[in-house]
Subunit: 468 residues, 4 copies
């Protein structure tokens, strides 16, 4: 039987200043498992800083969860013998992300996030997926039996790549966007009926893809919440008061009125379950993202700038240094589920939650093998998707469109056929511009990120020959 | 929200002297729900007796679960407004069952149970499924939103009929045979490693059909139990000591050495999860049922006689009368899960268990819509099958054979095409006799049960014309 | 055995001034079958005119095919006993079509045809499909064994409706657009290699939907034509000289440079096989239809006006009257295949051609049951689709998008849920405008065609309640 | 374009004394193609003899088809540059076949052919499939674009192996058993209606697997032949007069009454389309093969002995020598289709015929990828299966049983897991004996053929450890 005090977690991207601290936090607060966390990062200095922060936490007398943190200089050192592999990386730097998100604005294309789909998401995939190919090959070689949890965006194609490269991998992707919608439903229950429900008492049936996820069922103790949600929307025809979202879980400082969510429900009859910022990106560009005014005034959400991300990162970097220099770590309720998942996979408590995982039949009207987001049952060394039924027919027009885009982009990124990637780019819902303009934009975006594109020169070489 | 003290349960077959008492037992011991149980039975007297027994239990001060029992003279009276419908009937009487089980012995065909497959199971289906058609139509009319739980054999085709007749029915079939195998694995864990695990800590992945069910995975807190089981079998080449099975769950007084189970594991690499008596009936007749000696001496299980069933029924009838006449009801641990399932469907505690339910994709290599036995997640007003993967390829030869038989027999029973039923009969694994002998047996069996066969005369009319 | 001189053909839309004359032409030229053609039309006068024209032709001594033409006042009179049913109607009048095609231009949406997809195709479907429901019900009642051939647009959803309403119907849809592309390939063969091939010696593998059809294989006597086509395009970077298309089969007076076709080949690697005017409508609106200049100058095809259609119809009407008044019918090579298909279904000559028919597995990566265009083998009383493999992955993004639209629109038209139709409308590739503008356009279009919309009032009644 | 006078055909098994002469015959009679035939055989002498016979034929002035025959000492020499590869081998010798067919008789198992299924077919597969693995690897290496036509039994698993080893192979299997049934139907048409139809005017829809193939449709010029066949059977309740089958095509000297065929039609409603000798082997052993009397007296077909095969082979060998020594080759109508297929694949005449090829969706209720026998359309460099619909449900019980057996046996033969092969053996319809007897038989059969079994020692080594 497994020794619960000798668990080995490899963390790719372990130099992170945000998510790594959440993990340390949750491992420290839970006392039922212990072992070693190996921090691997191309920013080795970041990993060393986290090593010290983590070990300082473990050394505290008031901390139950005892873990040994160790920065690793090679991915091999991190992976050999690992029971779990966590992947949370930034593919490229914020400079590349700046091009992903903001260059399209010159062409009238606005992206509130720009990391999952749209011009930004597609180009980010081109540089990210070759890295995931390397991860998959290393996992196959050094720890083929490990459970692999991905947090990196673009989520669906990252997980798709892991399975394409190493089909027997035990991997899934985690995202907390659905939690926010469960919380919204709990808030409505409280506001309208005085019932206090926890987030995970809101039982759901989930379909769709990451960041464009839909609840086709939502129940509290068997009571159907869809008519309640419907009536609530009718009472709020302009959405909720725009808020800095202190109470809505996991949305941080982002403003929202939920009006994108409400609009999609009225159109498709299913509850969109991600932040409005994400949802808007998967819809035709003229719906929610036609221009700044539509975004900010009509639908009341915000376009996150990369400048803001850079500033926020600087703050997190500073806070990490403070911890490194001895300031005591502040524990909090992170709302993350990773430690709970790890424990379930070790046989310490079954539960059901949403994951991004290949479609082996859980979604009837999406193709086999593509990555879908559905509920799954976690138990000892096992993740089994629950049957999720069908994506509602009209909605499937949007979902199939993104799935076909993801398949094309994954193929393009791994084979280096960026011409094919351009085909997907041109057909992206948010790219409502002429083909020659789209080509110009695509070429400029690739150029800005070429340091991370293994097949860039080949693409440019071929470009001269075609005028289409 | 649902009023947990006003739950309405309709019980078709509610005059039962066995399973009805288990239900009363479990409802009484659980105090979280209450309401009304409507007992419907063609044996109305039996229902009246149970009405009094049930109400006497509810009246006891030491009983937490308060239910009102009511015998109903019509199925309509039982179903209108029902939240749950339980179906547990004997199709025909023990006389018909006697023909099902024992007449084939004259032709060298031995059936340890004779209610699920084989000559007995097929003929039983012919008289049972028209009854289930009526149930389905009544449920559609009187309580289309109710959850329907079937306990009647032949399980798979009963549930198949419910869905064929009323496709939107919320029905599943329950059977505790898998529990016995979980308990066997728990016993092995204790015997070999000193670990005390409860039955449902043995986490499984289940495929197959009812009574021919297989665990393709079995884990205790993430530890793979298949190699442990394999080694255990090697230590017991002749099976376990034949026992009256005091400690093996739910096998009552039936003898077993588990050698059928062990043999099937060595052949197919998956753990057969039903009593040996059942398993043997789904395999080619020469394997385990060639003759009495093979059954009793070589494999060490028993052929249950209908004479024994009649005697046991008389005892149960007497005990019911004693209760009716005032003897205090004796509570016990029934090991049944029905009340737990009902509570989960009411939003009172999610869990995973095995059910018989249409294949909507949970089993990759069985056809859609047929009834398979797999794990499912129960939560408020929801039963979602878990993805179960594939039936192992060589084993699927046996499983597909029975599935095709079940499809043919369901069709035949509902359309009255008994000629088609004979085709399935002739191809049944246990019918290894010449076609003319098989025809003679089939005709004799039908004649013995013709009182329950709506299309019997039509079949006999056609028979004259064909010599094949 | 069938009497080849007693074939009964029912023609719904038999008052037609164009296609009916092609049929008369081809029946007259072929002498192997004869019988009766029943002409049914809501324009009964048109049917009477055609009756006389047809009978005059049959009476001519130089005509081999002898048919009796009969105008019918009821659909029943036309259908009872029919062996074949041909459906070629105009749903509504050219006034409704004017709104379909030209009103969207006020919103910057240009449609070269406007009858298959796009705003025009969707609204046309809403008025056309209820008529097809009636046809299907009448066929089921009066001639369930007849073969039904549809020529009406929007093709895919018309055929889909026939099957939804009467699942056992023996129906398929015919369209000659593919022929034009086969002819183009034959022309290239002749121009480049001096090889004279007939259209149907160009063997193809076909996938896609009607008017957005693709050849994934094209061969002449086993030689792969794709590289030849590829090289030919490279020699014509701006397309072919724009021509009134005298030599390109079936394109009538329509101008084309084939540049849409060439562009799609370079992007997707399959040969688009319909007129550029059709193909453009299935692609995102900014690609080929951004504005008049893009259409006419850059890609060199034309936007067919309804004014032109009206004028052409007046000419055809006049010509019909001339025939009616005694002018001798002029025979020509129509290039149509209907008579050949009818003969094949009568056992007079097997062959393979392209049809629109439900997907029963011939296209691997499109859903079952939707209408796809693929090759099929025609023989006596049998049409069997040939396995067509997969739609190329990147291209499937476009094809799946239109298939999902078609499913939604069919549902909406038959159930009267025009709100759902609007959802499809809004997501149509050519509707790149804001949602409120799209709503306004949709409502105006519906109003213009409301005389043909059975559920119009219901839709308008609901509209007040929603602001989404 | 292809040079029709420079076609290269590689013939694996080219030393054959029977089928090779049919090929020479048909190539000589057809004058439209020419080139080289490379004869490869482990019996090199046989190939040399055929080389001379073939070249002598080509040299004759009265022969139109001019081919150069060349015996090759290596498979490489035969394959490099080949356009077509024909495979027709005897796996092992007649001595091994003697064990396959006759040893099971000691256990009461009778096999009229013993090369496709049953104990004989399974053991033959174990020695044959490793050879096919080698062929597939060589074809992939030396002529990956060639069309490969297999004639070797066991047909289904031979073709399955080719695709498993080299998935892009362009291979299919040919068998003329269906032709005989088409001829039977033509004979009935003539006898009952005086209509003279050729074999291939009988249009069919085909499902099933090789040698257990069924016509679910049969039509002559659109007229349904199933009711005619049904009535004909009623007139012949004991089958046709047993004949040496002079007029029934392709059955050679084999006796038959067609009563197996007739019986299966009455049971399943589809026309079994192979010789009774083959059909009987796929059914449960007690139906047609219970004992010699059942076979010969009741059903009136014969058990072909291997002694007879040896004698017949000696005669053919002598005739070949006569030809070699100068006796002029006698041309005949072989009834074979191979040359017609080769021509169609070269673009010289499309047609539809039955082939054994992977299920890519043409059969709805059989798994993907397994080898099914259905109709396919042959045209230039293309073989496209026609949609065949479903195997009738009750019949699918038998078909799925054999398909699962074939999958298991293919796996076992290629992986060397003969224990798994035994599992299939034990579950074979014709092995109605106890497991220990079956094990003894299997072991004896393997021993008799061990010279051809690459994994025999490994199997024997493992055998000691298990008693199951």
């Amino acid at each position: 039987m497994k020794d619960y005090n000798d668990i080995k977690i490899a963390y790719i991207g372990g130099g992170s200043r945000a998510w790594a601290h959440n993990l340390m936090n949750d491992l420290a607060l839970d006392g039922s498992i212990g072992g070693e966390v190996r921090l691997y990062d191309i920013d080795f200095e970041g990993a060393k800083i986290n090593e010290k922060i983590g070990n300082d936490i473990s050394a505290r007398a008031d901390v139950k969860g005892k873990w040994r943190y160790r920065a690793c200089e090679t991915i091999k050192a991190a992976l050999v013998g690992a029971d779990f592999v966590l992947i949370s990386i930034l593919p490229g730097s914020f400079d590349e992300m700046e091009s992903d998100v903001h260059l399209p604005e010159e062409y009238g294309i606005y992206q509130p996030v720009g990391d999952s789909t749209g011009p930004g998401g597609i180009v980010r995939a081109l540089r990210c997926l070759p890295m995931f190919r390397d991860f998959a090959l290393a996992i196959e070689k050094y720890c083929p039996e490990a459970w692999v949890i991905n947090f990196t965006n673009p989520m669906s194609v990252c997980v798709r790549t892991l399975y394409k490269v190493f089909p027997k991998i035990k991997a899934f992707g985690c995202c907390h966007e659905v939690f926010g919608t469960q919380k919204l439903l709990a808030n409505i229950l409280e506001e309208k009926y005085g019932i206090k429900a926890t987030r995970d008492e809101i039982r759901t049936n989930i379909v769709g893809v990451n960041h464009f996820t839909f609840l086709t069922e939502a129940k509290y103790k068997g009571t159907d919440l869809l008519p309640i949600y419907d009536a609530y929307i009718d009472e709020h025809p302009n959405g909720l008061p725009q808020t800095a979202d202190a109470k809505h879980w996991a949305n941080g400082a982002y403003l929202t009125t939920e009006l994108v969510k409400f609009t999609l429900f009225k159109r498709y009859g299913a509850i969109a379950a991600a932040g409005d910022r994400h949802l808007a990106e998967f819809c035709p560009g003229k719906w929610f993202l036609a221009d700044r005014e539509t975004v900010e005034k009509k639908y009341g959400f915000s376009l996150t700038t990369v400048a803001w991300r850079k500033q926020e990162f600087a703050e997190r970097k500073k806070r990490a240094l403070d911890y490194y220099n001895g300031e005591p770590f502040k524990f909090k309720n992170t709302g993350e589920e990773t430690v709970r998942q790890i424990k379930a996979l070790l046989g310490l408590g079954d539960f059901v939650t949403n994951v991004n995982i290949p479609n082996v039949g859980q979604v009837e009207n999406n193709p086999k093998d593509v990555i879908v987001e559905t509920n799954a049952f976690f138990s000892g060394n096992s993740v089994k998707p629950l049957q999720a039924g069908k994506v509602p027919d009209a909605l499937n027009a949007l979902v199939m469109r993104i799935i076909e885009e993801q398949e094309t982009v994954t193929d393009a990124a791994l084979s280096g056929d960026y011409e094919k990637a351009f085909t997907a780019f041109l057909n992206n819902p948010n790219v409502c511009i002429a083909a020659d303009k789209a080509r110009e934009l695509f070429d400029r975006m690739l150029k800005n990120t070429k340091a991370y594109l293994p097949y860039y020169d080949e693409y440019i070489g071929r470009r001269g020959k075609t005028t289409y």
